[in-house]
Amino acid sequence: MNIAFETKKSDGAERLIRVTVPAADVEAAKHEAAKKLAGKVSIPGFRPGKAPTAMVLKRFGDSIKAEALDLVVQEAYKAVLDKEQLKVAAQPHIHDLKFEDGEPVSFELHLEIRPDVTLARTNGFKVTRTERVVSDEQVTEQLEALREQRANWAPVEEKPLEGDLVSVMLATADDDGTIPEGKEYKIVLGAGHAIAGIEEVITELSPGGSLERAVKWPDDFPDETQRGKSKMVRVALTDVKRKALPDLDDAFAREMGDFDTIDALRTTVRNDLVETAKRESDADVRAKLLDGLIGANAFDVPPSWVNQLIDGYAKAYQIPDSEKERFAGQFRPTAERQVRRDLIVETLAETENLKASEGDVDDKVTELAEKRGQNPGQVYATLQKAGRLTELERGITEDKVFKWLFDRNTIE
């Protein structure tokens, strides 16, 4: 094929290339397409595949034209990539297509180029590691949270206090002043479940009591039509439950799992916190190091990759379509950074031969299996079924890349 093309625009990772394919080549492509089609269609009077090309061309002109165009565009696309030595990052787009019978076909090819990442500088960065110290308060806080989770709601026979869980029958007067039956609500006092006026009424009641009173709706009530109105309400308190926190003793520790004493539980909690802190500072060091790398090695990022990432996150966070633009605007720098980060890791893994090998994956699986007390083969099968193996592989590769980077940079 004798394809002519010229680059119209070359902006970062984007290329706009005007491609022209001579009429003769288009005609040849049409015959090619007709021949291909002739093998499939049946025309009365001919065995399948035996109809003359000319007849097929006349009968299925439109679909052949489309097919021929497809062929031409594909060939041209391949030729352009070949001649220009381009590596594309995403599906190309075609703009401004001109396709008339007996005329050369011409179109604009919109490409995104896979960035050629050359990491000029990967060493000599200085990163400070900030290790968070786990204090006794944090451990206590964590234990308190555990107590909170294990709290019992015990019924009490007195007026409710803030923080109590109450069951009430609540009814609001209709416009004509009659008060309907009411519905049952479970409310934690002071948690903002009910409007302030109603909570006030509840605190004045004992279990079994009932009261009717005018209550003023707050000025910031979500339903605008109700704001600032005063209405009669009937509140009947059915029962009050108070939170009873378990004591921090050995019995509590046993209840939490495989711990004999409260001290054992405390140690585990501390270890967990230390582990988390270590992971956080690891991630922090990695992020800082990558920031350095990104700053020192500039390359263009294909916009479609960034957009793809943004779309993915928008879906994951269930961003409505109307909010999408704002979200994309806010999220773009993060997404771009993510793409750069992935590209750097990928490039390093490739150039320095740090990709996770099968052996690495096997080792990791064995390690996981030991932790879970399962058979490695079983763990492998489960991971494979859940499609988690590639994730695991990527994790190992990333670990290896960062280990390589840590060896060549100063971490303080």
Binding site: G45, F46, K50, P52, A54, M55, V56, L57
Partner: protein
């Protein structure tokens, strides 16, 4: 007297006939069963604007109808005409 379009019923475009016009320049038509060779010649010349150099005709016997295993009669018999044209003349419909 049959009109032009009644004389020539339809061109027979099949694998066999396309081979015959491609190899030997013979065009095959179904014609009215009472059409004479001169009438066919005239009709082809008038219809397609070509010069006919030869006309051969034959009556094609109807084949037995394929009817779920039973043969209930025949497909109609028809008359076939094969014509050759002056060198360089062509009839478009056979080209596809």
């Amino acid at each position: 007297m049959a009109t032009l379009h009644r004389t020539i019923v339809r061109p027979v475009v099949t694998e066999k006939t396309s081979a015959s016009y491609q190899d030997r320049g013979e065009y095959v038509f179904e014609v009215a069963s009472d059409a004479s060779k001169p009438a066919i010649r005239q009709a082809i010349e008038r219809l397609f604007g070509v010069k006919v150099t030869g006309v051969w005709t034959m009556n094609t016997r109807g084949k037995p109808r394929k009817n779920m295993g039973k043969t209930a009669g025949l497909r109609p018999s028809w008359k076939k005409a094969i014509v050759t044209l002056k060198e360089g003349d062509k009839i478009g419909i056979f080209e596809g």
